[in-house]
Amino acid sequence: MERVMMKGNEALAEGAIRAGCRYFFGYPITPQNEIPEYMARRLPEVGGVFLQAESEVSAINMVYGAGGAGGRVLTSSSSPGISLKQEGISYIAGAQVPCVIVNVARGGPGLGGLNPSQSDYFQATKGGGHGDYRLLVYAPGNAQEMVDLIGLAFDKAEEYRNPVMILSDAIMGQMMEPVALPAMRTETTEKPWATTGKQGRSKPNIINSLGLVGEDLERINIELQAKYARLAAAEVRYETDGTGEADLIVVAYGTSSRVVRSAINRLRQEGKKVGLFRPITLWPFPKEALASLAAEGKRFLVVEMSAGQLVEDVILAVNDRAKVSFFGKLNGTVPTVREVYDRILSSLPEGGEG
């Protein structure tokens, strides 16, 4: 059977297995539980290791260890659990260890609720943990992208020796769609830096993030920044739909982008010129692409399930060259197609605004 029906969380888990992931460490939290549940069943079948740690803090440090030893390793959690992992993520970034971290985001702050939310955008893209570090952050927009982006995430994590985050949410994780699964990958990347024994070398490999002497830490940070610059130049991904002829461009990712697309299709049937700009990498952010659209005189509307986080990056990217409006939903609620439709209509130039 070439296609199967999978929930986003399951698609992501199977996608990880087929990308060669053989280690999973995590701790339960709704709405991501299908991922560890799937991995608990599936990893032993392919000779991998699943371990439910005693806490998120333990889980992320197990990821640090397994990644340092060269394993393809995954952890997943949801918002409060991702907060707990931040110290470990900073260590992993500092030690340049590849791994993939999935956040199936829910409403916050605090314990929040189980509804979908996009209010972890700042945490994912601007740090979250301490120090000058960056994660490559992918935002899948459908079940197929769960499979495709998790595979890419493992490759990029190893290429750049950097943690990669998949920022999903409760709806993306729970909705079911047809997906085509890739073949199982078996090739492995050379990891001469991994802590797998000296193997005849005179010096041992050491994985740590310590820079006790000021000059050492400066050198480490310069190296990291050079890597982030390479990553930012090469790894930007986004999707555009009808932005060329549009009077108004709606910027949205993940669940919001699905609602926006439905609203845009309705407006197009009424002859309105509305485009969609969907960032697929949230960091590096597709700022050049947005800047050139702003230079063409486009207007922008940002739709997200937060009080306004993505909108800050859009404003920075267009840099006063275009009008940017914002529509956000709070409390873990998803905007309806009708709400977005109305909002786009009132943001259009002929809508009387501005």
Binding site: M1, K7, L114, I171, Q174, M175, M176, E177, R261, T336
Partner: protein, 225 residues
């Protein structure tokens, strides 16, 4: 579709049992009232019939679910109203039971009522869900559900679909797999579901095979208004 007072609808995680249960409750409600629909999913709080409480109530269907306000709580908490439905012989009661044997275990709690009342237990299968393309796996699941629930499966609901990619060929190929599982279990196919009359087979159009047209309710936000 028969006159047993209690219908239990179960199936693997993501098989479409909630869509089947809601549609079936609406169908029964057209001919025989009153109808109670019990959302007994203790496995997962997303895409549940409890999201349709208002709509079902307007249709005259009594939806019994988690206590109001706790719909999105992580803890499974059963409503005592389930017992009042079971004890009222006037009610047609439809149970929507959560995924896999884990979800079916909860039925054991209502064992005395199932012993005292005629019931049907339907297993909803979508062979396009990973793993369930294998008839032996479906048969194995059926045995586990029976052991966990302490009930006997009386029929299989063929819910072969690939979401938006469903067509006649998808339904036909799925039907072969579900039929193979039903043969293994020596259980009848209760009906095959279909969301679009254009995908019906000639036999279904002529009434030679039982088909149940579904209206989808469990839609993601972008497929609603």
């Amino acid at each position: 579709m028969g006159a047993k007072r209690i219908t239990v609808i179960t199936g693997p995680f993501g098989s479409g049992k909630t869509e089947v249960a809601v549609n079936y409750a609406l169908e029964v409600n057209r001919s025989s009232k009153p109808v109670g629909l019990v959302d007994l999913d203790i496995v997962n709080p997303y895409f549940r019939s409890r999201e349709l409480t208002k709509h079902l109530h307007e249709e005259g269907i009594d939806l019994v679910s988690t206590h109001p306000g706790l719909e999105m709580a992580d803890l499974p908490a059963l409503s005592p109203r389930i017992f009042s439905l079971l004890q009222n012989p006037d009610f047609q009661v439809i149970f929507d039971v959560g995924g896999d044997p884990v979800g079916a275990r909860i039925l054991g709690r209502f064992q005395p009522y199932f012993q005292a009342n005629p019931y049907r237990l339907w297993l909803v299968i979508n062979p396009y869900r990973p793993g369930y393309e294998d008839p032996e796996r479906i048969a194995q699941l059926a045995r586990e559900v029976e052991a966990a629930s302490r009930l006997r499966i009386s029929g299989i609901v063929d819910n072969s679909n690939l979401g938006k990619l469903t067509d006649r060929r998808i339904r036909a190929e799925g039907a072969l797999l579900v039929q193979a599982a039903a043969d293994r279990l020596q259980a009848p196919i209760v009906f095959r579901t279909c969301t679009n009359p254009a995908f019906l087979t000639e036999e279904e159009k002529e009434g030679k095979k039982k088909v149940f047209l579904l209206k989808l309710f469990m839609l993601p936000p972008w497929e609603k208004d």
